[in-house]
Symmetry: C2
Subunit: 435 residues, 2 copies
């Protein structure tokens, strides 16, 4: 919908039509766990723009219309009207494939049993909400962002939560080990049972409803099972159109969001992007990136010239009483890429140490040895908002700055906001001596 | 003390002696209002390093020793021991003059009456605390950072506060008019009476104690009067040494914190610094700047080579339920410097709009027309911590970045932290279309 809006705004004469398989457009997917937990009032609150609003802008929106094929030569798509059961061919001049990602359902999760869910869409969320009624035990499979946010929000509703993670720690792909441990401890402190190094092998059920999760560590009883093991890009249409996919499995696009097929664009969670720190193609499907790509595609499709700037790998989440943020590369990631990286860890307080509500904040900064180039940061703080200062590091990574440049910055100080030396400066100071 | 610590750390053989006129070293002056209000437990909490700790590092600290003269030719200083009443000459190889600033006391405030105060040091704070006992009405003269922080903290203690400001609005020197108005409204909402365009002409007293403030708008009754009309650099010793002062009246130093006199350094609130946005000399005495200058002077005095990077004019304060931040230049300041500046105003929310604790946040971004160079930002939000994102703009100003570079940034998003488009991105987007 970002693309549609931008295209129409850029060129008022453009005829813009949106085909949506489901019944909902333009919703805040990142808010889904919070409706379940009560921090967001209702599902409708997540709707950013209704079909009526879009139509008011002169954009045609066809709900429950699934695009099932693309003929790039003839510049037509095949559209299936799910209500009328009719299939038609529709012409296009420029086509955007913004099919996003789907939640992965491993073989064991391909089940008819009630009470087994993924969380990707509003209907998914509504189904979980319904399943939760009368339920006592929830098993969340997967310890990434979504699993962690779900754990918090379902605990808030009084459910007993077990989290199963295949890897040795939760939050494994986004943080270095000491930070993973802090996240696990926080989750455990809130009575979530965390089972790492555990593989799910199947489900148990009774009367058509799930009763447990079979693992290589035994059966975990559960009235509700949520599968949060990751996402995969929806690339069927891209394949049908003959568009190239990248090594990550997502759509390969240039900075204008053009695919390898003339006239066909891709934008959003189904696309790769360029990582500005590593200069490699990555697939990191997140809200801001998707929105930004959409806007850029829209402008270009309408005759403009906009370019996607790349990402620096910024991510942030709240889990119970902790804010956790990262940007750039972790030490583990940097080493995995063959970089000669060094990290420093700093413990400080988010506000002046003597100020009433000061909380401990941990920062890890990572830089390249020799060059001193900053590579990344990780932050953890019980005052969750305080880790939003990760944005300062993200800004610095955009400019490919060094640790000592970071240390030079005139950051804001007053006791209710930080120490005289903001923890980022403290960490940069320490890092300067290591690179 | 930053200089002393750094010098000793850089060169363990250096003989470092600190002469302090008063009885306290190394305290967090910015925390003074918060001890009065109760957000900081006690005065001792503000002490960062004690003389004993410094001595433990091999630094000699002589309290109640006032340096009264400098002979730059002979490389000696005249030191007056205030307890013994003795005056001696002490030799130096390198001399740092870190005499800071004093609170300005206009003629009418040069009084013998009890209950009239400034707030600059811990003894000042302790005197105010004593005056507050049994007091009901406080008059704060001056509507800058300190006056505003005092207003909040004294209100918290149940005192009735009147604020007198000579100019047309409070927070006048740091913010553009719409932001000044928001600050005044917030202060008034908390029952502080604000009298702008009001000049103080004298004081009234009875039995040796102040009873009111005489103004050109009538007498304001007060049991306690706090004068917070600004500070002036303490430059007597610099003058005595023959060191050059800048146009601002503060010490003129180079990036190594060297004065115009060989072997004599200056650092801290008594110094000018370079503003990276305007490339002009400014005198903006703030905690981080002072600390940073001290470290740099210390390294250089001990034989190293460190350079002060300049400031970008970042400031932040909390007043009642508002966080207020600024960096770079305001529209008013930019125009005053003859720049062709344009500002945009954006209202958004600090967290995702649908998230439970989202608060409105206002951002003004200012850029140079034609070049698109970002000049500054102002932020206001009832969730005071949310304005700390001013640091992202400060980081961007360090790199002399443009509005469109800011818009490109991969900033952190999850509903408890921001909207998908962080308000800074929203503002940059709007600004791009104006420059």
């Amino acid at each position: 919908m970002s693309a549609a809006s931008r295209a129409k705004r850029f060129n008022g004469d453009a005829e813009v039509t949106v085909f949506e398989r489901g019944s909902v457009i333009s919703y805040g997917a990142c808010g889904l766990p919070y409706v379940l937990g009560g921090a967001v009032d209702d599902w409708d609150s997540l709707i950013a723009r209704t079909p009526e609003q879009m139509r008011g802008r002169g954009i045609s929106v066809r709900l429950r219309h699934e695009v099932t094929g693309v003929d790039a030569g003839a510049r037509t798509i095949t559209v299936h009207d799910r209500d009328k059961g009719q299939t038609t061919q529709e012409p296009y001049d420029k086509l955007l494939i913004a099919t996003g990602v789907s939640a992965i359902r491993p073989d064991w999760a391909q089940t008819e049993l009630a009470g087994v869910h993924v969380l990707r869409t509003i209907p998914d969320g509504q189904a979980i909400e319904k399943s939760m009624r009368g339920a006592k035990r929830v098993c969340i499979v997967g310890g990434g962002y979504i699993g962690l946010e779900l754990a918090e929000n379902l605990c808030r509703q009084g459910l007993t939560v077990t989290m199963v993670e295949r890897g040795p720690e939760i939050a494994g792909r986004t943080l270095d080990h000491p930070y993973q441990v802090q996240v696990r401890q926080e989750v455990e402190r809130h009575s979530v049972e965390v089972r790492c190094n555990t593989n799910v092998t199947g489900l148990t059920g009774k009367g058509g409803r799930v009763t447990g999760v079979e693992t290589d560590g035994g059966i975990i009883r559960a009235d509700v099972v949520i599968v949060a093991v990751g996402v995969k890009p929806n690339v069927e249409l891209l394949r049908a159109a003959g568009a190239r996919l990248g090594k990550t499995g997502a759509a390969s696009v240039n900075v204008r969001q053009e695919t390898s097929v003339e006239g066909i664009y891709a934008a959003g969670d189904n696309c790769e992007s360029i990582h500005r720190v590593t200069r490699r193609k990555v697939h990191i499907p997140l809200g801001l990136t998707a929105n930004r790509m959409g806007r850029i595609a829209g402008v270009n499709m309408a005759g403009g010239d906009a370019k996607f700037p790349g990402v620096v790998g910024t991510g942030i989440f709240k889990v119970f009483g902790l804010g956790v943020a990262r940007t750039g590369l972790t030490q583990t990631e940097a080493e995995g890429l063959g970089l000669d990286a060094v990290s420093v860890d700093v413990k400080s307080t988010d506000h002046a140490g003597y100020y009433a509500d000061a909380q401990p904040i941990d920062v890890r900064l990572t830089a390249e040895k020799g060059t001193g180039r900053l590579l990344g940061a990780q932050l953890i703080c019980p005052n969750h908002q305080s880790v939003k200062r990760v944005d300062v590091i993200a800004a610095h990574l955009h400019g490919r700055g060094k640790a000592d440049d970071l240390f030079q910055m005139d950051l804001a100080y007053a006791p209710p906001f930080s120490g005289v030396w903001d923890v980022l400066l403290v960490a940069a100071d320490k890092l300067m001596r290591e690179v």
